[in-house]
């Protein structure tokens, strides 16, 4: 991945955690990419974190195990890390550093791009307003993913977030327009990796998928690079090749841990839970690479997946993610316990851009009102359930009792779907109607009368 290295430096002064300090360097720039050769001839890679007069601090992606002061040679590439970009990535499976892991040749491209990316000019951004359909009813109807959006999945240990992410990666489409998925796995176990590769094999064979996987026993620091490679490849596919690209990044908590490890090794002043103070900006430098650009056909949509340690949504990683992203899909252990897949908590989940990406000509005319009514009815249902726990079912009004049964109907008839079931939007919306029509018409005040007439027998009128 690097050009010819003109000078090799041997003056290793210090090795600590993932860091190597090289002395006697000259002309080495900040954020330059470095190649490190060990005694054994093994090659490793690094990035310059600090360069002070003739000292350079290099962060080694593969960790410093086995490196010594005398036999280590470091060469600097003269520029920040660039990778080849192009459609050659499609259909490939790579490790977390972008090296082929499918037995194929190295990925080549006609051009290259810096992995750090460059911010999209805010005045050149096109506000997102068209949907990505995932074939998952709960997502498509209630938290519609919009092209150019960043919408994270908040999960906890033991929940099927990886299954959901893979299902979305496998099924997502953009209404027949050119589409691709870039999947970046960070800290996945070998079993998970095998699952991801198997489940996405068809899409990979169709040359609609790029897979980067950093496994749990791969070097931790490599994870700092994996999402940046994925986004760089995605940006080219989107803005140069005109595809709509969905980037799935899982697990962002594993990424943040790598960031914390480097920060600790550098002796930086820690902020919340020992994560570095720049965690917000660092996460933003990934998530904000989504979007659309005026006058260009493609889009980058980002779906980060993260596990909330201890299920705590105020943990810095989900908290800062929530401040950057445009909504969240929250998975809940309670819904999982009730036996539903995907275990989406509809009331905690939200897609902020949904209003602009749904409706006539985009999804279906009844979609926005239907989704709003379903959420409102579920909120009432949950209140009624709490009330029933306190005062007993007998004290509930008839209308409240009907709401009590709504959440069950929602789970069994709408939410639950097969892990390989690609549900059409029409089917999902019709199921939403079916659930809502278990309520009397008078309880569906958010739906316009003409929509109700079209879907419900007007005779079903009951006094409140």
């Amino acid at each position: 991945m690097t050009g010819p290295a003109p000078i090799e430096y041997t003056g290793v002064r210090e090795l600590r955690g993932p860091l190597v300090v090289v002395e006697g360097v000259s002309g080495v720039g900040w954020d330059e990419f470095a190649t490190i050769v060990l005694d054994s001839g093994e090659r490793r890679h690094g990035l310059v974190l600090d360069v002070d007069r003739d000292l350079a601090v290099v962060q080694v992606l593969e960790d410093t195990a086995g490196m010594n002061r005398t036999g280590t040679r470091v060469a600097f590439s003269g520029s920040p890390l660039r990778i080849p970009v192009g459609t050659g990535w499609l259909g490939r499976v790579c490790n977390g550093r972008g090296e082929a892991a499918d037995g194929g040749p190295p990925v080549l491209g006609v051009s290259s791009a810096a992995v750090g990316g460059a911010p999209i000019n805010p005045v050149r951004r096109e506000p997102p307003n068209e949907p990505v359909l995932t074939g998952v009813g709960a997502v498509d109807v209630l938290t519609t993913l919009v092209r150019g959006q960043k919408l994270p999945v908040f999960s906890a240990a033991g929940l099927p977030h990886l299954e959901l992410a893979v299902q979305i990666a496998d099924q997502a489409t953009c209404g027949g327009e050119p589409f691709a998925v870039v999947f970046a796995g960070m800290g996945l176990t070998h079993a998970d990796t095998a699952f991801v590769r198997d489940a996405l094999a068809a899409r990979s064979a169709a040359r609609e998928l790029v897979l980067f996987v950093n496994t749990a026993d791969d070097p931790v620091i490599e994870r700092m690079l994996t999402p940046r490679l994925a986004l760089t490849v995605a940006e080219h596919l989107a803005f140069a090749e005109g595809r709509h690209v969905l980037v799935v990044m899982t697990d962002m908590t594993a990424y943040a841990e790598a960031l914390r490890e480097v920060s600790a090794a550098r002796g930086e002043i820690p902020a919340r839970r020992a994560y570095p103070g720049y965690l917000y900006s660092d996460l933003a430098s990934l998530y904000e690479r989504c979007g659309r650009i005026r006058g260009r056909p493609g889009s980058v949509t980002v779906l980060p997946v993260l596990t909330m340690p201890g299920g705590d949504i105020t943990h810095p990683v989900p908290d800062l993610t929530g401040y950057i992203t445009e909504g969240q899909i929250v998975l809940s252990a309670d819904v999982q316990a009730a036996g539903a897949y995907p275990p989406v908590d509809p009331l905690a989940s939200l897609s902020r851009l949904m209003r602009k990406g749904t409706g006539p000509g985009l999804t279906r005319g009844d979609h926005p009102a239907l989704a709003a009514q379903l959420i409102a009815a579920l909120a009432r249902s949950r209140q009624v359930a709490e009330l029933a726990d306190l005062v007993g079912r007998s004290a509930l009004s008839p209308a409240d009792l009907r709401h009590l049964e709504l959440e069950d109907a929602f789970r069994s008839r709408f939410l639950t779907q097969g892990r390989d079931e690609n549900r059409s939007l029409d089917d999902s919306l019709d199921r939403a109607w079916e659930v809502l029509l278990t309520l009397p018409r008078g309880q569906l005040g958010m739906l316009p009368a003409e929509l109700l007439d079209a879907h419900a027998p007007p005779a079903d009128e009951e006094p409140r």
């Binding site: 900040w30 902020a271 900006s281 979007g291 306190l390």
Partner: protein, 583 residues
């Protein structure tokens, strides 16, 4: 980089070399004449940076661009001037980065090594002189008028006074052209000003005129005066940005300076598009024409985020000095504080709370102090109102930025997660917010012909608090266990929330509300509540009162246009008639 950003070297400023690069922290060999806060051009790409510390012969510079590839030994050139921006009429309607460079001049991607494509537009403006040759003028006095959508004035720059030696005739002049000569010095429409130095005024005056934001929850309960300060703390998803954008669109200021500081790119794109499409109800022009947008999204260089709030304040003061009322919106000040923390950490400063530098509180205070109602040097009245969003991590209101900000502001609009999740906009909590401007504004409303303003506000606050208290009780014992009067209080809380306090930001009729409509809505609800109380006291059952269809009252806020009151009165009368039938 255009020529205005990195000025030509001052005489005597020598060349220097870079010694260290660590992200935005750059150390350079320091010639003796370099001063704190001087600009330095770094490397062959001449990236802008600012001197933040000098130690012996080493100066520490914070760089405002990505420093990848910059290396020890590369050239650095101290420029001998502090970070300054170009203040001119074409700021209105423009979108700029944190250093006030027009983003329209850049390409699709903001790469630090890709120079700005072409010079910025420098249009001509109609200029009408208001003084004649030979007149003696002092700093801040009006030299002429500039015909933009907002009436602008050309002033004698601060620090200059004397006789008008020459003044341009009426007509179109480019903003870079010399339009006057005062005391032997040339005066242009566009003038530079260092961003960290507040512009001088004759004196501060009491902030006692209301800023009508058009958001009822705010105007009714927690009003803000022109020249005052507001903080808006709220966790993610509570609608901070939504509230601030609505205020940017609809408040009755002359000029809005909107600083998007470390926030979402798609959101900035959205606000830019909407401002360009919406009509200003007061001028008939586009809302964008009274707005200056400074966009520094969360993935743009972090240190420019630090500069952007000062840049915004400087722009606001520029318009204030012309006798205009300006609202400066900063979303979010927490991201700005994080930039301070990031840099302090790289400097190795001793951290205070949660890694923030010890100077955090004083820097926050200094920023909010740039808000003021003033008598300008030229004798006009102007104001800068500062509204800052705060994003507490984990919704924790005791974290340093929120805790310190609360101490320095006059008004606090606390956003409540429960209200936001119930889709109640604006989610301003009535129990955790405050307005220290309320007494002064009650007097102003009384002078302005609404003597009952304070009484109305007090009644609404009491009713909402009473309803909240009873709501806790209802959850335990059920509504039917309450006495009739208390049941009406619960009903009153619901009616006030849904008919008066809540707003539909997406509805053209309800996106903003004039003071008259707000007063009419509140009076209508209070009248209906009074009638309900009379009924239950006269023996009507609470069940019967609760069963009345209050829908016309609840819908009135959306059936009446922003400045209409008649449909509100009609809805009130309809509901009163229905109540009469239950008696």
């Amino acid at each position: 980089m255009s020529a205005t950003d990195v000025p030509a070297p001052a005489p005597g400023a020598g060349r220097s070399r870079i010694l260290r690069v660590c992200g935005p922290l750059v150390e350079v060999a320091c010639p003796a004449d370099v001063a704190m806060h001087d600009l330095v051009a770094l490397g062959t790409g001449r990236l802008p940076g600012e001197v933040v510390a000098i130690d012996g012969d080493t100066a520490t510079v914070q760089a405002y661009e990505y420093t990848g590839g910059l290396a020890p030994g590369h050239p650095a050139e101290p420029l001998g001037t502090p970070l300054s921006v170009r203040l001119s009429p074409e700021l209105l309607g423009g979108v700029f980065d944190g250093l006030l460079r027009p983003l329209a001049d850049s390409g699709d991607l903001l790469a630090s090594d890709a120079p700005a494509a072409g010079a910025s537009r420098r249009p001509s403006w109609p200029f009408t002189p208001r003084v004649t040759r030979g007149t003696g003028v002092a700093a801040g006095e009006v030299l002429g008028e500039i015909g933009a959508r907002v009436p602008l004035r050309l002033l004698v720059p601060p620090g200059l006074a004397g006789e008008v030696g020459w003044i341009a005739p009426a007509g179109e002049h480019p903003s870079d052209a010399v339009v006057a000569e005062v005391g032997g010095q040339e005066v242009r429409m566009a003038q530079p000003w260092p961003v960290r130095r507040p512009r001088p005024v004759a004196r501060r005056v009491p902030a006692d005129l209301p800023l009508n934001t058009g958001q009822r929850a705010v105007d009714l309960l927690f009003p803000v005066a022109r020249g005052s300060t507001v903080a808006v703390p709220g966790g993610f998803g509570t609608g901070k940005t939504m509230l601030l954008q609505q205020i940017a669109k609809w408040c009755d200021a002359d000029v809005i300076v909107y600083v998007g500081c470390g926030e979402r790119g798609n959101e900035m794109a959205d606000v830019i598009e909407e401002l360009g499409a919406l009509t200003d109800p007061r001028t008939g022009g586009r809302l964008a024409e009274r707005t200056v947008t400074i966009a520094n999204t969360s993935n743009m260089p972090m240190m420019a985020r630090e500069a952007s709030v000062h840049t915004g304040a400087t722009v606001a003061e520029y318009f204030r000095d012309m006798g205009l009322h300006v609202v400066l919106i900063a979303d979010s000040t927490s991201r700005w504080a994080e930039a301070l923390r990031e840099f302090a950490s790289r400097m190795g400063e001793l951290p205070a709370e949660e890694g923030y530098p010890a100077g955090l509180a004083s820097q926050l205070a200094a920023f909010y102090e740039r808000a003021a109602a003033v008598r300008t040097l030229g004798g006009a009245d102007g104001s800068v109102t500062v509204i800052g969003a705060v994003s507490p991590p984990g919704g924790d209101r005791t974290e340093p930025v929120t805790a310190h900000t609360e101490r320095f502001v006059r008004c606090l609009w606390s956003l409540d997660r429960d209200l936001a999740y119930a889709r109640h906009y604006p989610a301003v909590s009535w129990s955790e917010s405050f307005s220290r401007d309320a007494p002064a504004l009650a007097a102003a409303h009384a002078r302005g012909g609404d003597p009952r303003w304070a009484e109305r506000r007090g009644r609404v606050a009491r009713q909402l608090a009473q309803a909240d208290r009873l709501a806790d009780l209802v959850e335990l014992v059920g509504i039917t266990a309450l006495p009739p009067r208390e049941r009406v209080d619960v009903l009153a809380g619901r009616l006030l929330r849904e008919a008066a306090v809540q707003q539909n930001a997406l509805s053209p009729a309800d996106a903003y509300s004039t003071p008259e409509k707000t007063a009419a809505l509140v009076d209508a609800v209070l009248t209906v509540i009074d009638r309900c109380l009379e009924l239950v006291e006269a023996g009507t059952t609470a069940d019967a009162v609760e069963a009345v269809d209050f829908t016309p009252l609840l819908r009135a806020r959306e059936t009446a246009a922003p400045a209409e009151t008649a449909p509100v009165t009609a809805a009130r009368d309809l509901v009163l008639a229905r109540l009469k039938e239950t008696a």
